[in-house]
């Protein structure tokens, strides 16, 4: 089979917020850029973000980036790298204002500035009181942002390859990244995208879990490609369970609901968060709220006939506020919970939502991996941004609204780094190895010829159930150990998936089989990393690492203040230090402390 080859200065995989922001940087610099995306750009999952994007604009309440940085480090349970966190928080105003200039329809304050609302874990004056830091377009911020970014790319004449699925990363013998192979979904043809620089902006992999707020497309394609090509995945044990997924359906209800005054209640109507987080209450950070909810349910105070959820109450808010600030939430509640939140509370339950870990990068968006004694050696030609990347700004737990900020800041920064590295002559078009497409072609040939295999649906279902049961909100040593062996056996089965549909044209059975390969890498990384981390930190909380005077909240900084690196080959782990030093000399590190809200 001959494989067509296309050549570019840069290829970007993914056209969600991070990919589009990076693309803008490259297109406006006049570089020959290809953006590959398996869905039309405005269908990317950024579209589903609701509550807002963080920036210390101070439009409603006094604010500054130092406070934002403190909140983010504390929210990360000190696992976030402080250089990257400083970079992100300092850049926030710039990238949000830029977006406004691109045309994003932010809500407005009475004096015409960008409207901001309070959000979980964001505070004034180092944890003292809630702050309005979330810049919002009603409860459709992600939709408004993604469309504004796409529109700006239309203006910039960005070249998109829509409904092309990237298959594998191409590396040479030195480990340099030379581009990707990709499948055109309409024709089934495979092409090589040969480039001086490759940026991954492929989003998360929330579909490893059975109950997830994530879209069907969130299959961790970038992570799978990176892992198969020998790049480690960082901190994959840390998954955010969003406190308020619609019970039963999993659809997201923004934290902005609580930002606007919503309250979580148990079966007796009690505002239980007052017991768990006396200061920030319902606006404590997400890991804390989700655990509190599950504790209420486990201790018999859940709602409904099976006492298996809690209620999110906004009936005390005026209908006008709900219609103006939370119109999308009202639609979702009516559609998926059968409840009009003006009249009755919404049944909710913690739901898998966001992957804090990912492809390791530095604050410039360059992918880094251990090489010759340097644990953070840049991989030549390879960049990543957004949810697929781990900069690491979210550490062990992400604050709400920091994901949209992450994709803007690091999408831009990855784009800038590519421009810089190209201009300085650090990047060139390196010769393709003769076997550049062989891995991809072999995967496709395997699927084509597989007989007596299992269905993608069945294997996928077992993967999702295994992850849900063994790596959930609370984690148990024995369940994690069992989980590791179970997920490895699911991974073996995934090697023999069989599809009945052999058509060349828009074969979604084939796409789903290829996506499962990617999900499996993420699932293995998650379970193995989680089993190994013998402490509780942020979103990773184990029964055998409880709160104690020696280890507050179960966190063990002496042994575990370090990033996990999981390597697919050999299914092995390494660790690297957390960067505790901020980027600037004159910025004080945020010192380790016990996390309370």
């Amino acid at each position: 089979m001959t494989v067509a080859k296309r050549t570019f200065d840069a290829v970007i995989v993914g056209a969600g917020g991070a990919g589009l922001r990076a693309a803008l940087q490259l297109s406006e610099s006049g570089l020959k850029t290809a953006v590959l995306t398996k869905v039309f750009p405005t269908r990317s999952h950024t579209v589903a973000a609701q509550g807002g994007v963080a920036a210390s604009l101070g439009n409603s309440t006094e604010d500054n980036w130092h406070w934002h940085m403190y909140d983010t480090v504390k929210g990360s349970d000190w696992l976030g790298d402080q250089d990257a966190i400083e970079f992100m928080c300092r850049k926030a105003n710039e990238v949000v204002v830029e977006l406004e200039h691109y045309g994003m329809p932010f809500d407005r304050t009475d004096n015409g500035k960008i409207y901001q609302r309070p959000f979980g874990g964001h505070s004034q004056n180092y944890g003292q009181s809630p702050v309005s830091r979330s810049c919002a377009a009603a409860d459709r911020t992600g939709h408004a942002m993604l469309h504004a970014l796409y529109q700006r790319n239309v203006r910039a004449n960005t070249q998109f390859f829509v409904e092309w699925m990237a298959l594998d990363l191409i590396r040479n013998a030195d480990g340099d990244v030379l581009g990707v192979t990709a499948l055109e979904m309409e024709t089934g043809e495979v092409s090589i995208f040969h480039a001086k620089a490759t940026i991954f902006a492929t989003g998360g992999a929330g579909r490893i879990f059975h109950s997830s707020t994530n879209a069907f497309i969130n299959t961790g394609d970038g992570l799978g490609m990176a892992a198969r090509a020998g790049v480690p995945l960082e901190d994959m044990e840390f998954w955010q369970f969003h406190p308020t997924g619609v019970f039963g359906a999993g659809v997201l209800i923004t934290e902005g609901v609580r930002g606007e005054g919503g309250i979580l209640r148990n079966a007796s109507g009690e505002r239980f968060m007052e017991r768990y987080a006396p200061n920030l209450k319902d606006l404590a950070s997400r890991d804390v709220v989700s655990r509190s909810m599950v504790t209420e349910i486990n201790e018999g105070r859940g709602c409904g006939p099976d006492k298996d959820h809690v209620l999110l109450d906004i009936t005390h808010l005026s209908p006008e506020t709900i219609m103006k600030r939370l119109p999308g939430i009202r639609e979702i509640s009516i559609q998926f919970a059968g409840v009009d939140p003006i009249k009755a509370p919404i049944p909710v339950v913690p739901t898998a939502h966001y992957q804090m870990g990912g492809i390791p990068t530095n604050y410039k968006g360059q992918v880094v991996a251990p090489k010759g004694g340097n644990v953070n050696a840049p991989v030549t030609g390879f960049y990543a941004a957004g949810e697929c990347a781990c900069a690491s700004v979210h550490g062990a737990n992400r604050l709400g609204t920091n994901s949209l900020l992450d994709l803007l800041v690091f999408g831009k920064s990855a784009g800038e780094s590519v421009v810089e590295d190209l201009n300085s002559g650090n990047l060139s078009l390196k010769p393709l190895p003769a076997d550049a497409a062989d891995v991809s072609l072999a995967r496709l040939a395997r699927l084509e010829g597989q007989t007596n295999g299992e269905s993608v649906f069945d294997v996928g279902l077992d993967m999702r159930r295994t992850m849900q049961k063994h790596a959930g909100v609370f984690r148990f040593d024995n369940l994690l150990k069992e989980g590791v062996s179970q997920i490895l056996s699911v991974a073996e089965r995934a090697k023999r998936t069989e599809i009945k549909d052999k058509s060349k044209v828009w074969n979604t059975a084939r796409t789903e089989a290829l996506e499962l390969d990617n999900l499996i890498e993420v699932a293995k990384a998650t379970m193995v990393s989680a089993e190994a981390r013998k402490e509780s930190r942020g979103a990773h909380v184990r029964d055998d690492a409880p709160d104690s005077p020696e280890f507050p909240n179960g966190r063990n900084d002496n042994e575990w203040l370090k990033h996990t690196l999981w390597f697919s080959e050999g299914n092995r782990l390494e660790y690297k230090p957390v960067t505790m030093r901020p980027l600037s000399q004159d910025v004080e590190p945020i010192a380790l402390a016990k996390r309370t809200y």
Binding site: V47, G112, V154
Partner: protein, 236 residues
């Protein structure tokens, strides 16, 4: 709970093996958790993996799973199975070329969207902070910016069926008005000039199918009316 069974009739076409399209009948047993039409389609695909359709967010914001359901364009993810008379007849969106099964070629739809310059135009030097906009002026964008580009509207519009290459269609015109209505945009004249044509804007005859089918309850006809008003007021 007793298992529910539904009957579906589905448009099938795979150019790789079919000479022409045909309708295929399915009887499908649902699980209790299957509530929306998309749940049923995903269930059906687990049994017949050759069935092709687009889907992503499953909550009505990405616009992927628009299709013609019992004669009306809708999003599968926002359609209750139990609200539909059976057999549920599923066809691709009308008026666009079919690639395979329920997947249509949306090139023409996006070409029209792109033709209205769907981006803010303001070439004044950008201020250091945000451009100011009053809450009232921002309110003008409500009912416009929420469009998800699902194409339910344009593919239910007879004028778009007849002239997909010349008539912008309801989705594109809604977007055109979204920028005309934005106080930050400075290209009003250019935008109106771009639509001053017997086809691009004026092929809308207020049939209002677009309003009827919009899954986000938007009103392209009203937006088109406002553009026509702007045309008139600049002519006098």
């Amino acid at each position: 709970m007793t298992k529910r069974t539904i009957q579906l009739k589905m448009y099938r076409y795979d150019p790789d093996k079919d000479d022409k399209p045909y309708m295929q009948d399915y009887t499908l047993e649902l699980e209790p958790s299957d509530k929306k039409l998309l749940d049923a389609l995903v269930r059906l695909k687990s049994k017949d993996d050759s069935l092709s359709f687009r889907r992503s967010c499953r909550e009505g914001v990405c616009g992927s799973d628009a299709m013609n359901v019992n004669g009306k364009n809708r999003l599968a993810c926002l359609t209750d199975i139990d609200s539909l008379p059976q057999p549920i007849v599923l066809r691709p969106l009308p008026g666009l070329p079919v690639i395979r099964d329920l997947i249509v070629d949306m090139t023409q739809f996006f070409k029209q969207y792109h033709s209205i310059k769907p981006y803010l135009i303001n070439d004044a030097p950008a201020p250091e902070r945000e451009r100011l906009q009053s809450p009232e002026d921002r309110e003008e964008l409500n009912g416009l910016y929420e469009c998800i580009l699902c194409a339910c509207c344009s593919t239910s519009c007879p004028s778009f069926w007849w002239n997909p290459d010349k008539f912008v269609g309801p989705a594109g015109l809604l977007a055109a008005y979204r920028f005309l209505a934005d106080t930050r945009d400075e290209a009003t004249t250019e935008r109106l000039d771009n639509l001053e044509d017997p086809y691009r804007l004026f092929r809308c005859h207020s049939i209002m199918n677009c309003v009827d089918v919009c899954p986000k309850s938007l009103n392209p006809t009203r937006a088109i009316g406002k553009i026509k008003d702007m045309m008139v007021s600049r002519a006098v």
